[in-house]
Amino acid sequence: MEKQQNYAVEVEDLTVAYDARPVLWDIDLKIPKGKLMAVVGPNGAGKTTLIKAMLGLLKPVTGAVRFADGSGDVRVLKNRIGYVPQSGSVDWDFPATVQDVVLMGCYGKLGWIRRPRKMDIELTKQTLQKVGMQNYASRQISQLSGGQQQRVFLARALAQEAEVYFMDEPFKGVDAQTERAIVSLLKELKEQGKTVVVVHHDLQTVPDYFDWVTLINLRVVASGPVDEVFHEENLKKTYHSSGALLRSVV
């Protein structure tokens, strides 16, 4: 029991398949509390699938996901889990303002039917400020750039006031300045004792941004502290390449 307390998320024997083809095979994963963890792997390795399975958005063939208090049901924990989907997963031409979208982060706490309160709107203003989008609150979301869309999704997740965050490529299509802003935000979350799981593509920045890393390619190749498991051999195993491209990274 005592040991369990140290993990924010535990994944056991997780196998996920689309049709008959397995996309994740027998995944065992323990994510310690208060860590910034990168999920790294080649295209089609199952990174997004892993996150979606942990969130309960996909039904696994076998296996279980457990959160800190021992419950595996996301619905019970809805207020504790924040989610930043890939920004391309929604239609940004939807008739809504930036504030409307960020306010959706409060919906979980409200539950069915109840309307957002004044304090929820206050909260959205604060989280927009945190991502530097306070001047865009009344903007139509179709007018946002890719980086701004990412920041809006981030603000929405912050409004969830969760304990564990899952982020699917939050750095995709953002400029250097926005990337720095997001990184400092992630570190701030970590300082508050939150656990953050990030699907990440840029191997160069893994040691700078994260303190924990999981390398996956259908299976978990390695998972642990960045300075222990993020080395050439594991990267080779993950990417099945000669490693020439990766040698410069580590």
Binding site: K52, L55, G56, L57, V74, R75, K78, I81, Y83, P85, S89, V90, D91, F94, P95, A96, T97, D100, V101, M104, Y107, G108, L110, G111, W112, I113, R114, R115, P116, N135, Y136, S138, R139, Q140, S142, R156, Q160
Partner: protein, 307 residues
């Protein structure tokens, strides 16, 4: 002018116009969600697939009552939806193919059944054909009451689950991650859309009904960037077309009501696509011209955040 005011005082006209307005209003509201969820075509599938249900209800129960026939329509519409969803889920057939297939099979079956029914003595004037193109003039007061009840239920549900529908329509996965069952929401919203379609069948008919579902929200989307304004405008456009279409068909001899309503709503769509500020075609041409001049003068981007 006299004939118009006389028309609006006519009881039959009032009944039909009220029915058409209600139909436009309801389908305008529910259609907004169908369009935003990119399920416009599903509405077309459901309405076409309702035909065999109408005929079967008559064959099995021998009743010409609207509610009986519409119940049949509802069942076969839902059945078709289940088929489409099932085919997409369990085979490699894609959504558009599954939809086209199921829709034409059901509609074809409906036509075959209709021909069969007309050969049965005593049922020749069953009036089932009115469901193909719709026949608003057959609307009775009790049909209107049925529409009002269904409409009130649907509108209350939309108001009650407004937050959930908005979230679910925009970002299904996120809704699910917050604990709002996307299965339940999908079921509820789809059922509501199907019900809205069924309500309109008698007036507009199975072939044109999807226009009532799609056109008002498409027009409304042009004028606003807020969901609640879009839904309200869509309801308004639908109701307006209902009344105008009914009036047109009453004033022009031999002009059928259903198609007249659809023509009216199409005019609203055309106008909105051309002239709406912001999203309209003309506005965008104007904006592009202006930008060109700005670029020439300053060589910079004119799109500086304004607030």
């Amino acid at each position: 002018m006299n004939s118009v005011s006389a028309l609006f005082l006519d009881y039959t006209f009032q009944t039909v116009a009220l029915g058409s307005a209600l139909l436009g209003l309801i389908s305008g509201v529910l259609g907004s969600f169908a369009v935003l969820r990119k399920q416009s075509l599903l509405g077309d599938g459901v309405s076409h697939s309702a035909l065999p249900g109408v005929v079967m209800a008559f064959v099995l129960l021998g009743s010409k009552k609207t509610e009986v026939l519409l119940m049949g329509a509802l069942i076969s519409g839902l059945l078709a939806t289940l088929f489409i969803v099932g085919v997409v889920r369990h085979t490699r057939v894609k959504f558009d193919s599954a939809l086209a297939l199921v829709m034409s099979v059901f509609f074809g079956l409906g036509l075959v059944l209709l021909t069969y029914v007309q050969k049965i003595p005593n049922s020749n004037q069953a009036g089932l054909k009115r469901f193909i193109f719709g026949q608003a003039s057959t609307l009775l007061q009790r049909d209107i009451i049925l529409m009002i009840i269904c409409g009130l239920v649907l509108l209350s549900l939309v108001l009650l689950f407004w937050k959930e529908f908005k979230l679910f329509t925009f970002d299904t996965d996120f809704a699910q991650s917050l604990g709002f069952s996307s299965k339940k929401l999908n079921l509820l919203l789809s059922f509501m859309i199907v019900l809205a379609i069924i309500i309109g069948l008698q007036t507009v008919g199975v072939i044109l009904m999807s226009a009532m579902l799609i056109a008002p929200p498409v027009a409304a989307r042009q004028w606003t960037n807020k969901l609640w304004i879009m839904v309200t405008l869509s309801a308004l456009f639908g109701a307006m077309s209902g009344i105008t279409g009914t009036a047109a068909s009453s004033l022009v001899p031999k002009l059928p009501t259903g198609p007249a309503i659809v023509v009216c709503v199409s005019i609203i769509v055309l106008f909105s696509i051309l002239f709406a500020p912001g999203r309209g075609v003309l506005y965008r041409i104007y904006q592009r011209r202006k930008n060109k001049i700005l670029y020439k003068l300053e060589g910079g981007s004119p799109d500086v955040p304004s607030n």
